[in-house]
Symmetry: C2
Subunit: 332 residues, 2 copies
């Protein structure tokens, strides 16, 4: 089968032939229609990730059709259109992942290939209102956004929500999920075009984080934020505390701008703020995310689709940070 293989860290992925996986009794073979790219894939390809093993087929997200099932499984599964939960061994505790936790696509071979094998408990029927293309965008980013916003962030009615860095995969889902929850949503971005699109989609306001006055402007526009979803960290994070309402919560799922300096404990305790780390989500979160997407008929935003052969070009595109929504690979 054709696959995008990481042979050496730091080198482009190579499109070549890989052996079709052999199924265990409770595994299924999914013929992938589309895969979605996550920053994780790019970090791994550059060696910016712990415990990298090569060669490996990358890719955590995919949607396709079950073509074959293991001996212990009912053949009725064959032909079903499914999406894949990228968690492997989250474990028993909803609050954090187990030591044995992995994400599909390194070390286990992932979805940047014509076929992927996964355990039957990793597949879910594709939401009916979505194409396989749209559904492939959902798993990792949708899961991360759902846990950040609802499980950890505990979003409730009448709150004001801030999505920092709208347009990125997770942020875009957090933005759409918050809109679907019918709360007031504010966004930031460094890109005027993305702010414009977000406002068209329903954001109350969009502020460029590149201005010195972004925090003041946001505080003035919103009257204060109850829940902020951030993946930047770095320089702006300390100012974010000033925008938060008393009792407010910041959920952080990334640190693209590096370590946080100048964080004021006084603001933190005086306003009784909460800073909650979150990444990925449990299998329970995944099921709840799917239920929410179905209930609210959410349509993932797709920024651009590349053929599998152009996976390295797709990585470059993501690194330009111009995307608004997910970047996909068309496979079959």
């Amino acid at each position: 089968m054709k696959a995008a293989i990481l042979e050496n860290v730091g080198a482009p992925l190579r499109i070549s032939n890989a052996t079709l996986p052999e199924l265990g009794g409770k595994e299924v073979l999914v013929k992938l229609a589309y895969a979605a790219i996550n920053h994780r894939d790019i970090y791994i390809s550059k060696g910016l990730y712990a415990g990298i093993q090569t060669p490996c087929i990358l890719g955590s997200d995919g949607a396709g059709i079950i073509e074959e099932v293991g001996g212990a499984l009912n053949e009725d599964w064959i032909g079903k259109e499914v999406i894949i939960n990228p968690n492997i061994n989250w474990g028993e505790n909803e609050n954090f992942k187990a030591n044995t936790y992995q994400i599909l696509g390194m070390p286990t071979n992932g979805t940047f290939a014509e076929y992927v094998k996964v355990n039957i408990d990793r597949v879910h029927l594709k939401p009916e209102h979505l194409s396989l293309k749209a559904a492939s965008a959902l798993p990792l980013a949708g899961l991360t956004a759902y846990r950040a916003l609802f499980t950890k962030g505990n979003l409730i009615a009448n709150q004001k929500v801030l999505i920092n860095g709208v347009g990125g995969g997770v942020a875009q889902f957090a933005f759409q999920f918050a809109l679907a929850a019918e709360v007031e949503v504010y966004v930031t971005s460094g890109n005027a075009e993305k702010l414009k699109k977000a406002i068209e989609m329903g954001a109350k306001d969009g502020i460029s984080y590149k201005t010195e006055s972004w925090a003041k402007d946001l505080a003035k526009s919103s009257g204060g934020i109850d829940l902020a979803i951030d993946s930047a960290g770095g320089k702006g994070f300390a100012d974010l505390l000033k925008v938060m309402n008393p009792g407010g919560t910041i959920v952080t799922y990334g640190g693209t701008r590096g370590k946080v300096d100048g964080l004021s404990p006084q603001i933190l305790f005086w306003k009784q703020l909460n800073i909650l780390g979150s990444t990925m989500g449990s299998d329970t979160d995944f099921k709840q995310m799917l239920a929410f997407v179905n209930e609210k008929q959410i349509e993932p935003t797709v920024s651009k689709v590349f053929p599998l052969n152009e996976v390295n070009e797709a990585f470059d595109y993501i690194e330009q940070e111009v995307q608004f929504g997910k970047v996909l690979l068309e496979i079959n």
Copy 2:
């Protein structure tokens, strides 16, 4: 009546005569036996606090005997031994204090005086197992410690708890409350004598935060911390994240070492950590704290008692940071 009055910010408190307060219908006059000193009193006297109004009688904590009641109240209250809840107008939301919130002792006249008047709903019967002296140590610090440990920190059985800077008023209560909850408690201090005392009282281990290796030593000794209670912030805070177990929580109620630099979002989200700001506590927290102190028969640790006349010397003593437990003023 004799009172310790802040006449000018930056000057010592002056012991002089103040007018005996007149009671409203639902107010009571408490003849104070003892008052306890909090860092808040010292910060206010130095001008390191927002909205300072002078002249004012400082002091948030006190225990004494009700000597007179307002016209709307039952005279049965007279003669009761009570402690005072220092909250004024916490408000309706358990998660944060209202805009109108105040703490007894600036701008409202406080407990560093022979008498204080408070609303009847601010007094609670002194725990039976405590003297008025011991009970006076409890209110502000006990409330802050209770909320940090239980309401925000959500301490549960079998957790490993870290109390940073043991010996200070709030930290000392957090330490004793955690011991009473029968969990494993670890402490840090810059003072070898305090570490020794804490271990004698039941701490599993005590680590000097002045060593470069404190975080590694603590991680090795404890095998990882589930709940940390911190009032320092500053330089050590970023290292604290490394000691936390996955899903762990740091509750921060102070920032004596200033702003936090070098905080890693990656550790925060990868381990699904929570950093929760907390200060004081709601009236519900106060009632629960009293119930806990009664149930567990907790005896507050008193470091030293000064006569009211020596309030400035007592402030100096606290600033030397040698105390282990609360510093009291003997009044009547």
